[in-house]
């Protein structure tokens, strides 16, 4: 991983809050109504391919573990709505051969309002000697 990639931003990616996927999340977690909070992970996966393919960032996904995850909502997601997902590399720290990258994603609605910010900390473990 390249620490100089801190601050990278990626082009917006379209994401629809597909009611059938939302229903699948509800069924998996026994939630009766609404959009389960962690459904946002589906939006993150719409934008992740750009991060994984970023040669400047040079993240080796085969050595990555998920360190932490957070979601901050300005308002709930609405079933069926069209959002865009904007990803950025918020911070990169290297420690003991391991790399810690915080990937932040803003989910914006059709009015350009950020409805949720997702933060994923990925840990790229040191390569085997």
């Amino acid at each position: 991983m390249n620490p100089a990639a801190e601050g990278t931003t990626y082009p917006a990616v379209a994401f629809i809050v597909d009611p059938s996927r939302v229903a699948a999340f509800r069924a998996l977690f026994g939630i009766d109504e609404g959009v389960p909070p962690t459904f946002v992970t589906a939006a993150e996966f719409a934008a992740f391919p750009q991060v994984v393919a970023d040669r400047h960032l040079d993240l080796d996904f085969s050595r990555v573990v998920h360190g932490s995850q957070g979601y901050d909502f300005r308002r709930p997601l609405r079933e069926g709505e069209a959002l865009v997902v904007r990803a950025r590399i918020e911070s990169i720290r290297m420690r003991g051969g391991n790399g810690f990258v915080m990937i932040a994603m803003d989910l914006e609605d059709a009015d350009g309002v950020v409805v949720c910010t997702a933060r994923s900390q990925m840990i790229e473990r040191a390569a085997e000697a």
Binding site: L28, P37, T41
Partner: protein, 139 residues
């Protein structure tokens, strides 16, 4: 939503348990779009040092969030939720989500919960989610 006058600092959330199955993990991969082989291919999981496939961290966090939603009364009462992933979850293990009220803000009618997911393994308690947190709107 949960009425603020019924909530006190230190209140415990009802624990929520489930056994994690291969079917759950396959269903989660399809719904989320996370098709990492670590969660579907035992041979791959063994090649990176696990005894077999593990659940997605986000599956475990989704279970934790379900415990928060159950306490809050509805999903849109959850204003924020976060988790640190500290241990893997293997198939057929029972994960237990829990939490307690850390603080209450009367001005915004919100509560902050500390939350976790534990699993009993080999006679000791492991923490797939430690230092989880949720901010919840109260009525």
């Amino acid at each position: 939503m949960r009425p603020i006058e019924t909530v006190s600092i230190g209140d415990q959330l009802p624990e929520l348990s489930r056994v994690v199955t291969r079917e759950d993990v396959r269903g989660y991969a399809d719904a989320s779009g996370d098709h990492n082989p670590l969660h579907r291919d035992d041979a791959f999981a063994r090649s990176v040092g696990f005894p077999g496939i593990i659940a997605h961290g986000m599956f475990t966090m989704g279970h934790m969030a379900a415990a928060v939603v159950a306490w809050a009364g509805r999903p849109d009462a959850v204003l924020a939720v976060s988790a640190q992933f500290r241990a893997p979850v293997f198939m057929e293990e029972t994960i237990v989500a829990g939490g307690r009220v850390r603080s209450i803000d009367d001005g915004t009618a919100t509560a902050v919960l500390e939350t976790w997911v534990r699993v009993e393994r080999g006679g000791r308690t492991e923490w797939p989610v430690k230092k989880g947190e949720a901010r919840v709107r109260l009525a």
